[in-house]
Point group: C2
């Protein structure tokens, strides 16, 4: 979807004739969705995640609490959900089939970071920080990683000929996800300083080739 306008958070409906195939209803729904999101963001920045209740969010977004739950199944989803997943999935599919899939993954990860940063730079930080501070948010992050793991499994299976549901592929995909998740936590714990994409590259190196100094086999470890 090219619903870029939806990402324009505070922009009122002042762009009349830009989307022919979208009725008033759909437009309102997007607006409500975004209103709930941005209400949550500001409230969480102001008072913290736990102190922010659904009722407050509903008030500030000028909807009823019922509506909030109609749009987002859980409080964590308000903070963590976005529309990039489909874009990234297409991006992954668009990679050449003979490209080493680890390179494909690298490419998609960079794309993901670029999207997140240019579109809403402060949201990336907020998410990473909440991932560190709030267990429930971290849990939800893991859950969505696990979903992403399914895609990785598919990509790996496609290009290696291994069974997508076999133990080996599953373990590998999940270990990848775990490693990438840790990057975000590391970034947030260190004050969100530095380029996240650099960290991501370092992490991918580890996941691809093992630890830098002492190899996984560990027999040659006397490295000062």
């Amino acid at each position: 979807m090219t619903t870029m306008t939806a990402a324009r958070i505070t922009t009122p409906a002042d762009r009349p004739a830009e989307r022919p195939p979208m009725g008033l209803r759909e437009r309102k729904k997007l607006k409500t969705r975004q209103a709930i999101r941005s209400a949550t963001y500001t409230l969480v920045e102001e008072q913290g995640y736990d102190a922010t209740t659904i009722e407050q969010i509903a008030d500030r977004a000028e909807v009823s609490p019922s509506t909030v739950f109609r749009y987002f199944p859980t409080k964590e989803d308000i903070v963590l959900t976005d529309e990039y997943d489909e874009i990234l999935l297409e991006e992954l599919r668009a990679r050449p089939a003979d490209e080493p899939w680890m390179d494909s993954l690298r490419h998609v990860m960079h794309k993901a970071l670029a999207l997140g940063v240019t579109e809403e730079p402060e949201v990336s930080r907020l998410r990473a920080r909440l991932g560190v501070e709030v267990p429930a948010v971290r849990a939800r992050m893991v859950e969505s990683m696990s979903a992403a793991g399914l895609l990785i499994r598919q990509a790996v299976a496609d290009r290696t000929g291994l069974d997508q549901d076999g133990l080996e592929v599953r373990v590998f995909a999940m270990s990848l996800m775990g490693g990438l998740m840790e990057v975000s936590l590391y970034w947030a714990e260190n004050g969100c300083e530095g380029e996240l994409s650099d960290l991501m590259d370092r992490a991918m190196d580890v996941l691809e080739h093992g630890l830098p100094a002492g190899k996984p086999r560990g027999e040659l470890r006397g490295k000062p």
Copy 2:
């Protein structure tokens, strides 16, 4: 009453030297703890996890709901917590310092499985099954894996000379944990058939050497 379970956990026949320094208070605490646990196990087997409320658990364990929460911070912890962690930590520390740490880890994992199976064979299955079925339980499993990751980091740092809090070590530890977690899910999804330790070995092979057929670099992938 379920005094049997408490006797099983303390096993006076096995460890005669542990008896003297435990007063009535401590003994009762252990008994209550175990009563809550076994009440939960049977109720969950009977009606499922979500259908089982804290009040029911408290009733069957013959304590008040307040007491349940005093012993376990969350409902998931009742199912997932045990006393093996310290044992395993000591086991890890007891490994020779020049052993490749991946081998150490392998050893400890096998010990963990052996403990869990001999002590309470059905609990391992229940946990694995709940991990698949109940998102909250899965989330809590990940959380405790993350805690275990800290130990892994220490072990890796000790033997490789790398920084325990550096990105590389953290990513590696977390990817390990993710992979091992997936083993349990895989096992449960396939009906808990076969030896869990065999699966664990296969997973460790993947984590140590990469995927079997197509190597991580992926350039030599034409393997039927």
